[in-house]
């Protein structure tokens, strides 16, 4: 086997839209089965990074390798749950239909869903706690339930790598709990998870590695390596307040269309 030890490698990647570079010269490696939190201020390029990792946004330079092969060679092994699904909520599809779409890549575009496909869909829906909503139209669900439907679709894809953009922002407690349980489950199954979050406590407590970004790589390593004053100051600038007892507060003022976030992280 020519597989390298690292399952996801980003090498000197610059990502952007046309002339505008959002992320410059980014390099990091994620080992198989790791849980990675992507952290940084608003507009730091977290969503942009995710779009590049699934191949929606082409790289300006550099390269991304998955299992040692260039992105695109493994179209089935990366699943992506965007921050806000850019779907037509009035489209006539049920929750089951949406989750079944996760199987399309593997079943082939011409074949009908097999018994195994149906079973995977049913299991994924159950796992996200929305079994009773399976036959409902996707548009009838609450925001949190919709997010769980799309998480169910992502796990129905049986990915090796799962990318989630802000799954904990603006969701109800049930969705948060179900999502956290899912992360543990995926960790046991050796699925690599890369998740962006504003919740620094969560990043410090539930993840193996933290990727701190602000248009470039600020720090990458275990939470205790990354969450130190210098790094946070570089990432968050003036929104970081350091108290006398070593407590640090990150106050982010958000774009007007988003709710106001206050986050803090304690340094031991």
């Amino acid at each position: 086997m020519t597989h390298t030890h690292h399952r996801l490698e980003v090498e000197k990647a610059s990502i952007g839209y046309g002339e505008k570079i959002v992320m410059r010269d980014l390099s990091f490696q994620v080992p198989h089965g790791a849980r990675v939190a992507v952290v940084g201020p608003n507009g730091a390029g977290k969503s942009t990074l995710f779009k590049a990792l699934v191949g929606i946004l082409p790289l300006q330079s550099g390269r991304i390798l998955i299992h040692g092969e260039l992105l695109g060679a493994h179209k089935d092994c990366v699943a992506y749950v965007p921050q806000r699904e850019d779907v037509d909520w009035r489209f006539p599809v049920t929750v089951s239909d949406v989750v079944m779409m996760g199987r399309f890549g593997q079943m082939g575009w011409l074949s009908r869903p097999s018994k195994a496909d149906r079973q995977i869909v049913r299991k994924s829906i159950e796992q996200m706690g929305i079994a009773d909503l399976a036959a409902h139209s996707i548009g009838q669900l609450s925001g949190g339930q919709q997010q769980r439907a799309f998480l169910a679709r992502a796990i129905a894809q049986e990915p090796h790598i799962l990318l989630m953009d802000e799954p904990f922002t603006g969701v109800d407690m049930t969705t948060r709990e179900v999502t956290l349980t899912l992360l543990d489950h995926l960790h046991n199954q050796q699925v690599t998870t890369i998740i962006s979050t504003h919740d620094l406590n969560l990043a410090a407590s539930r993840f193996d590695l933290v990727l701190l970004l602000n248009h470039r790589l600020i720090a990458y390593g275990t939470p205790s390596q990354v969450f130190v004053k210098d790094n946070l100051a570089q990432a968050f600038g003036n929104s970081l307040l350091v108290m006398e007892d070593g407590m640090m507060l990150v106050d982010e003022c958000c774009p007007p269309d988003e709710e106001h976030h206050h986050y803090h992280a304690e340094v031991k």
């Binding site: 699934v54 191949g55 929606i56 695109g72 179209k75 990366v78 699943a79 992506y80 965007p82 699904e85 850019d86 779907v87 037509d88 489209f91 006539p92 599809v93 049920t94 239909d97 949406v98 779409m101 399309f104 890549g105 575009w109 011409l110 139209s137 679709r153």
Partner: protein
């Protein structure tokens, strides 16, 4: 019973009935995408845009369907070309090409001597003038279009519902979108003879819009839409026979009645 059988004694009525049912079903199925993807304006534009092709075929005594088909595919691909990567907004591109093609068509037709009759046949259809060879062509094209929709059911579903998933699954979205435009153009061409260009747009939108109100999933929506399209065609043709009115109008008006029933049903249910 006699009431229903009497018109069928005429060969042209039999052919007309077959043709309108096929077209009713075809328009209704393609109409599902038109309604869901918000392409109603495009369908309307496409219907008028084939006018120059039809006029050319008239002038050179060629086959109307072939002329219309060529014009439709050219217009469909031009819309895709002008609106590619957002150089010009899609509805702007449609508006420009629609007006240009319509003007060209009218200019060509106005040079003919039998101007009024020909134009009204093209605009409103002449289902009773469907020949046996026309019927075969309509049936063959419709079968090909419906087969393509069946084969591309899943990719079309994904690009219509979730473009981001389509991108992560590496679907060639641009190519699929153009394929859908070509299918839509061919559908309009096929409906030319039964309902005419100005009413084809209605047959694309009305049955599918009714089915959208009655169903919750894509495949049932298509099937219900097809049923409404077929029923509207049959009922409309009988009305046209007995009341001696233009068949295209009676078919579209029947479909509109179905829509009103579906709309009231939905209102009552949600009330």
């Amino acid at each position: 019973m006699n009431f229903l059988l009497e018109p069928l004694a005429y060969q042209f009525m039999q052919r007309g009935l077959f043709a309108s049912v096929i077209v009713g079903v075809l328009c209704a199925v393609m109409g599902t995408y038109v309604v869901l993807r918000g392409m109603a304006f495009l369908g309307d534009a496409m219907a008028h845009a084939i006018l120059p092709g039809v006029a050319m075929a008239y002038l050179f005594r060629g086959d109307l369907l072939v002329g219309a088909g060529i014009a439709a595919v050219i217009v469909a691909l031009s819309i895709g070309f002008f609106s590619k990567e957002g150089t010009v907004k899609e509805d702007t591109a449609i508006g420009i090409l629609f007006a240009a093609a319509l003007s060209l068509g009218v200019a060509l037709i106005s040079s003919m001597q039998t101007y009024a009759v020909d134009l009204s046949h093209i605009l409103f259809g002449n289902v009773l003038g469907v020949s046996t060879s026309d019927l075969w062509l309509i049936a063959g094209l419709s079968f090909a279009i419906l087969l393509t929709v069946g084969l591309f059911f899943k990719p079309f579903l994904v690009i219509s519902f979730d473009p981001v998933l389509a991108a992560t699954l590496r679907l060639p979205a641009e190519l699929l979108r153009n394929l859908m435009l070509v299918l839509l153009a061919l559908t309009v061409v096929v409906s030319l003879q039964t309902v005419g260009v100005s009413l084809a747009a209605a047959m694309l939108v009305t049955p599918a819009a009714s089915a959208y109100l009655l169903t919750r999933r894509l495949l049932p929506m298509m099937l219900v839409s097809a049923l409404i399209g077929a029923l509207s065609s049959v009922i409309g043709l009988y009305i046209s026979y007995y009341l001696n009115i233009v068949s295209g109008s009676s078919i579209v008006l029947t479909a509109t009645v179905f829509f009103l029933i579906a709309f009231l049903w939905k209102r009552m249910k949600s009330a």
